[in-house]
């Protein structure tokens, strides 16, 4: 499936990916993601990638591009539904670059409030380990 979705508004049923390059964001006990992965920085944005219009392979390719910018190992991704984001008074703003990128914005400045939202997002997120060969 192709097509430029850059400027289309994000719908509540869309899936969003936060790529994980740091092992410390994954709980080794049960392969879930820590809230640390969802702290917005550089403030006030949290970068995510929209799944819409992408195959699994293309999603991993975009993740690899994030990893290559460091460079670092791409361990996996934390997927979250847009509804879980907007339901917490945050907004999802698509950007034209890079492909399928969006910013989760509207975060409060107060760190403890950011943390409780990040905890809730992490509890709702689904961690997907990068498959070998991608």
């Amino acid at each position: 499936m192709n097509g430029d979705v850059s400027l289309t508004p994000v719908t509540d049923d869309e899936a969003l990916a936060r790529f994980v390059l740091f092992r410390g964001w994954i709980r080794s006990s049960n392969s879930t993601v820590k809230p640390d992965a969802f702290i917005p920085y550089p403030y006030p944005d949290l970068s995510v990638t929209r799944h819409i219009g992408l195959s699994e392979q293309e999603i991993w390719q975009l993740g690899q591009a994030v990893a290559d910018s460091r460079p670092a190992t791409l361990h996996g991704r934390a997927d979250i539904q847009a509804l879980q984001v907007t339901g917490r008074s945050l907004r999802i703003v698509p950007t034209s670059e890079p492909k399928n990128h969006a910013n989760i914005t509207g975060w409060p400045k107060d760190k403890p409030v950011q943390k409780i939202i990040a905890l809730q997002l992490a509890a709702d997120a689904c961690y997907v380990t990068r498959p070998s060969g991608n």
């Binding site: 390059l21 920085y41 990893a67 509890a123």
Partner: protein, 165 residues
Amino acid sequence: MTLATLESPQLSYSAVPTRGAGPEAYFIAKQSEEGRRRLRETHSLGLGADRAFEELFVVARECRSQNWDGYGASPIASQTFNHACRFLGALPLGIPAPSIGAEPDGHLTFEWHRSLRWTLSISVSPEGDLHYAALLGSSKVYGTEPFFGETPSRILELIRQVIFL
């Protein structure tokens, strides 16, 4: 008090804070520190403190450069690492060792996790503030406590709620 640094990773424990002054108070504090160190070294209590210090050092090392998360993260500053060492060293015996992490804004984190809805996360800032947030079943709590060398009672209460209740 000897603390590990990012350049010199010897693992040791911070001194127990003492409110007294003079040689007696110093002696008691030193003895107390030594006792804590020995207890932790036995591993018989299952505290995992050495492993936690090791994990803290590894995380701080891994996150010491700019953009360690690929999204523009701030590096972990040495003062953040020092505060985190002191916080970990000040945890009372009997508290299970936390999992160590880092946030993109350069804070180090300590997590006690029982399940997705029973989790406590504490961020240590470069200023030594402890920002905490916890999911306690259907309720949530969050806030900030200053760190002056002893584990704040609010934090201890939350750890016990998440782990033991």
